[in-house]
Symmetry: C2
Subunit: 206 residues, 2 copies
């Protein structure tokens, strides 16, 4: 099972690296990082460089396409080279997936018309621009389209995907290997749970 | 507040990128990735390259030192250049932290003698080799030493650290921004919770 993760300047790194850490672990599964060109991309705050080992034209098909989010993906919404590549890989994929605002790219590629989908809570309503029905869930499966909520939700979505493809035991083995027994010291991970003034502050900044 | 994350060939990428995604977000906080030399390191499965923007000798001091884990850190346990760097940064740090088997490197540097510490459940008992008292918790704070359990635990530890230094509101804002409202589809993230045969299989492979 091959996962191809699209990376680009301005990516939110955890959107990509969370699922990578899960989808690279079942026996026989592999992950590749794909950029517009080979070479380094820099994450959204500039402090981290990730390597694209392949360029778009080197990847003709994949089993799992994963499109992460981050401010840097907004130019991709009008980048026909990227959108055409997303459409082409979607045709042959077993799963077409996104994390965070990556669902906007799937939408811009025309893949979410009439589909249920999710993404980062701050940008969820934008999915309507692409004919999608926004859903506030940790991940949303609609046919072979699988979209996750913001940033860290990609880890949960990836475990779900391993469970669907390789069975619950395989997913549990990965979960145990990465000791994913989350215990955040605060309970503010969603706009429904966070203090209202913090939700308001983030909404203003976005 | 500056965080310096040590990276190396064979790192478990999420050990580093999880905390990076948290510690780079509070206003005025920054993260840098440091390698033995500048340039790319490859993660443990070979599929991901991360950029070290600085070499050890370019980093004389930091506020938060973070040492990640991964099979590739075993050679570091006998690498006097790295251990000396860890000791030097620890002298001036506000916090000295690790994720996963990163605590073994802190131990090899002599920093855990008589201290309570944690790490990946599979390697926890090895901490005794360095005079530490292994503790099965998500993270363990002992003075300015802060150690986290396996891989994904670095996210929880980093949120705790932001809370300690910048206050709970700052940590909650980060948690909301990365939508860290975990909802894993299985409940197998610790050896106490995972099916016994899966625990046994991982223990044999390690």
């Amino acid at each position: 099972m091959k996962t191809s993760i699209l990376i680009f300047d301005g990516i939110t790194a955890l959107d990509a690296v969370g699922p990578y850490e899960v989808l690279g672990r079942p026996p026989g599964w592999e992950v590749e990082f794909v950029g517009k060109a080979r070479g380094e991309v820099r994450a959204d705050n500039g402090a981290l460089g990730l390597s694209a080992d392949k360029s778009l034209d080197e990847v003709e098909r994949t089993d799992i396409l994963l499109v992460p989010g981050g401010k840097g993906n907004r130019p991709l919404l009008r980048d026909e080279e990227v959108l055409e590549w997303v459409r082409r890989l979607h045709q042959g994929s077993t799963w077409t997936t996104s994390v965070c605002t990556g669902s906007l790219v799937l939408g811009a590629a025309g893949l979410l018309e009439g589909r249920r989908a999710t993404g980062h809570w701050l940008y969820l309503e934008h999915l309507r621009d692409f004919g999608a029905e926004p859903v506030r869930e940790r991940w949303v499966e609609d046919g072979k389209l699988l979209t996750a909520a913001g940033v860290s939700a990609g880890i949960d979505m990836a475990l779900h995907l391993v469970g669907r493809e390789a069975g619950p035991e395989a997913a549990q083995a990965v979960q145990l290997a990465i000791e994913y027994d989350p215990n955040p010291p605060f309970d503010a991970g969603s706009p429904e749970k966070a203090p209202a003034e913090i939700v308001a502050a983030l909404s203003e900044r976005s």
